[in-house]
Symmetry: C2
Subunit: 166 residues, 2 copies
DNA sequence: CTCGTTTTTACTTGCTCAGGCAAGTAAAAC
DNA sequence: GTTTTACTTGCCTGAGCAAGTAAAAACGAG
């Protein structure tokens, strides 16, 4: 109990805030995925991979870098890239500069898919997150998200996808 | 493009806000789960089930009601209850009032586990979410979460756990 | 009003797939 | 030759969907 700000159980406003956030954490990810999955059979995560590649030089990135961009483990990324590679959206090649590394490259088909999917994804994010908020609240959400991110990173022993040396 | 507020792609402040939120959506749930799993082999979801039962009359709830409280599908709940039942934390009984319904009841062991786990869970939520924010920001987060929830519910054809007629 | 049939409700479970962990593989660095 | 880096993959678990089961409710005929 000498621990500052950590009561034995949450109550009052804090409990209500936490409950509201917990519901969002449960519902928002599937709600964000749904239109993309329905229309393009793409998860938000797979979309993120395509998006990251589209912005990269030569539309190619090493797996490790891509994992950092998409906040994921290498394992998860490897399987996701396998899936979208099987659909012809990306190809994997051995990096000529370093035989250990794999380069994921966006194909023309992948770029087409991304360009079709982007308005759908933007629309979903807008409808579910941005539009329901005032301009001020969007700014607040940004700052709040940054602070929570920082708190997570500062947790001892917590490194979600080991972002390399960035 | 006649659609108000839904640009073909996000940019600027909106993109930054969305990126920050997306990272939180990815990182926060596992960060919240970690201490509970490490110390008690309990997911946040299983903890939520115990928590809901502890507050109920006779420490018992019908599965459907419990599913609504924990924002989950009946299928997911059923498996979660199977797991914690196998550990002796709850028991399932046929509802005498309605033979279709199953009552999940918290056992003494379940109550003990909940009482041990609650300070750990509160501490995690406090450290990762509440403490990094100012008092004003906690209020903002509450309001923002409520608004996003409402937007999700208003999406046509979206009902996550069909809360019955509650 | 009663009996038999259909519909609805309340779960449970088989199938399948995504993702975590840890073990395996291959190339580069030391 | 050993260690480190960069993945990939086998095993296992959790969750969604849809099909299955069982009990209650609703309905219709007599």
């Amino acid at each position: 109990m000498s621990d500052s700000g950590a009561p034995a159980h949450l109550a009052g406003d804090d409990l209500a805030t936490w409950a509201a956030l917990a519901t969002v954490l449960e519902w928002l990810p599937p709600a964000l995925d749904a239109p993309l999955v329905r229309d393009f059979d793409l998860t938000h995560f797979e979309y993120g991979v395509l998006f990251a590649l589209a912005d990269a030089p030569d539309r190619a990135l090493r797996m490790t870098v891509l994992a950092a961009y998409s906040n994921s483990s290498l394992s998860r990324l490897s399987r996701a890239v396998s899936r979208i590679e099987a659909r012809g959206l990306v190809i994997r090649t051995r990096d000529p500069k370093d035989g250990r590394s794999t380069l994921a490259t966006l194909t023309e088909a992948g770029l087409d898919m991304l360009e079709e999917a982007t308005p759908v994804q933007s629309h979903t994010v807008t409808k579910l997150v941005l539009e329901p908020l005032t301009k001020a609240q969007r700014g607040q959400l940004h700052e709040i998200s940054v602070r929570i991110q920082r708190a997570i990173r500062e947790q001892e022993g917590w490194q979600p996808a080991r972002p390399g040396r960035g």
